[in-house]
Amino acid sequence: MATVTYPLDEGRKAGTFSLPSLLHEWVITVDHKKLGLMYVITALLFFVVAGVLAAVMRAQLVVPNNTLIDPATFNRLFTVHGTTMVFFVGMPFFAALANYLVPLMLGARDMAFPRLNAMGFWLTLFGGILLYSSYLTGEGLAGHGTAPDVGWFAYSPLNERAFSRGTSTDYWVLSIMLSGLGSTITAINVIATVLSLRVKGMAMSRMPLMVWMLFVVSCQILIAMPPLTAAQIMLLLDRFLGAHFFDTQAGGDAVLWQHFFWMFGHPEVYILMLPGFGAASEIIPVFSRKPMFGRMAMIGATCTIGFISFGVWAHHMFTVGMSSKANIFFAISTLIIAIPTGIKMFNWLGTMWGGKIRMDTPMLFCIGFLFQFLIAGLTGVMLAIAPFDWQLGDSYFVVAHFHYVLFGGLLFTLFGAIYYWFPKATGRMLDETLGKWHFWLLVIGFHLTFDPQHFAGLLGMPRRIYTYAPGRGWELWNLISSVGVVIQGAAILFFVWNVFHSLAKGRKSGPDPWDAWTLEWSTSSPPPEYNFATLPEVRSSRPLWDLKHPEDPDWKYE
């Protein structure tokens, strides 16, 4: 199919290939596939680093009155861990999926603005490096080499000059601002690609669900990032020019920061989560050998989530003491957003129902996601009830809840996505045996770590404490929780081993190893620079099914 030869390929064949030229090629690239892969690598590297930070925290908490690290170090650990996971793991994963998949799934040559796209990547990467450089050059109360220690949402007035001396908080602000700019650039690119570069026949209604979800996420980013950026500008004005936005002594309002932060922060949860939903919506039908059950309901639910996500932010602030009217409003809106999310659960289950389910690793991760995300959603509904939240706000129950969402939910789908699209990106399959070790160890490790945290929280253990006294019934739960981390670490080692092993010796995948239906599987693996030499005609949401089954095409029914 793809017989066009490009000068670059010729150079490789002629043996002029060298490490500097390879590096040069990747640094100057504007190709959406290369940028997508660089985003994945960035996200995985930061994931490992942030995971190590979390492991140190769990080591500190394994027994009461532990003295492995001091309180100030602990504060830096949870701040940098949370900031990294949200802004330098979750967001790059969104950008990775968007960059790699959107043009391929829509039959386009590249994103709408390739150079802007490259700029977005480098902003994100250097934002992350800036955050970590604070460990070397940041200034804080503890002196030189102080990382931010204000928590990932950096509540006011703690983030003000009076309470956060030095520059460590500024590292937090500026690194996130840079990466936020990068995310906005990616979002604009996705929207323009979806609206302007679809191949002939690819009506919006026929777009793969992954593209739909990334599109909704991008629209959310356009509206959700500015409140954070604006609040951070205000904070910088406070810190450097003596302004009083969040300065209570001059009549300013510290709670305003919380409002602005969560106006960003709650849509952000869905921004992180929807790409995972998209991956599940691509993987589950292919491995159940059925088209998506309730496709239009799925699209509708996604748009509904995108919309309602802007009206729930203050459920993060029940304990701050808002008026009861505000409490009721945000409790109800939060309960309502559970409905479209529930619709999605039934879409996925309905797709699996009666299907010929293939238990390959991508599907295993998606099934794990369904179970874990259900529990995450249920604890979310519990926390949406304001009086319940008064009891358990800022406890380990909350920690367990959002790790269920972002680890048990998001990360499992992302690993599923990696197993599913790895063959497309590299031309080789990931090893199934190692993949199953990875999956099962991660399931066991995940549940050992985060299930007990629910109980510790119910027993009153607050989050962000660096140690605790014995005799409150927390010891066992913390011990189990820390043991789980070791098993998770083993699971990740299996994954890393699998990636390197399969890159070198993995089975050749061919263009379409899963017998899938979306356009990216119609080109070679890995795809050539120009993506497609030829494209099948798009007449339904499953163009490759139509191509493979001319006797029973989808377009007859859609």
């Binding site: 709408a112 191949v199 002939k200 302004a243 305003l256 494209l535 099948p536």
Partner: protein
């Protein structure tokens, strides 16, 4: 593969221009940033603990407003001149737009000079100063960006570049300029009318 198509830019028909989509998205996200600063401004109206207060020091910037709003008309005339491929018309209207924008900035500078040196209102004085300088300053910085881009286009045309081929891009730039003007209407309403 009988149903396969050769991939020579075959796109769905009637798709939007990507540049337009990009600029609309940029304007949407910028508008949200302004919205947050406006919310902060409105939230802090009348909450300053010490003076000077808005009604003591602010005067209606009528002339600056006239300049900026009329520059929206002149930039539209410039785009039309470009579309008709009449270079002199384009240069005339674009030059006028830049002059009007620059005059707006000069008026802002005069106002800030008065506020800082005569009324002793700085960003650190009170909540009014904090919110006033940040909101008006955010807008002024957008005027500066817009003026820089407009001047770039003007100078390119002056140096003989054939801008007619890039008419679409100049039009998108004019959208950004219209947006900056529209934001001023909001800033004017909130700062000089409601907040006073």
């Amino acid at each position: 593969m009988t149903e396969a198509l050769a991939i020579t830019n075959i796109r769905e028909e009637n798709l939007m221009d990507r540049g337009k989509v990009g600029v609309i998205c940029l304007i949407a996200t910028e508008a949200t940033i302004f919205m947050i600063f406006v919310i902060a401004y409105v939230f802090y109206i009348g909450k300053s603990l010490t003076g000077p207060f808005p009604n003591e020091v602010l005067t209606l910037p009528i002339w600056a407003t006239v300049c900026l709003l009329s520059s929206s008309l002149t930039v539209e005339m410039a785009v039309r001149g470009l579309r008709a491929n009449v270079r002199s018309r384009f240069l005339l209207w674009m030059g006028l737009t830049i002059l009007l924008g620059a005059e707006f900035l000069r008026q802002t500078a005069i106002e800030w000079n008065k506020l800082i040196n005569r009324d002793h209102l700085t960003i650190a004085t009170n909540l009014f100063g904090t919110t006033y300088y940040s909101l008006v300053g955010l807008h002024a910085s957008h005027v500066v960006i817009g003026l820089t881009l407009l001047s770039l286009v003007f100078l390119l045309s002056l140096s003989g570049a054939k801008l007619h081929a890039h008419e679409r891009r100049v039009e998108l730039l004019s959208w950004y300029w219209h947006f900056v003007d529209a934001v001023w209407v909001v800033v004017f309403t909130v700062v000089y009318w409601l907040g006073r």
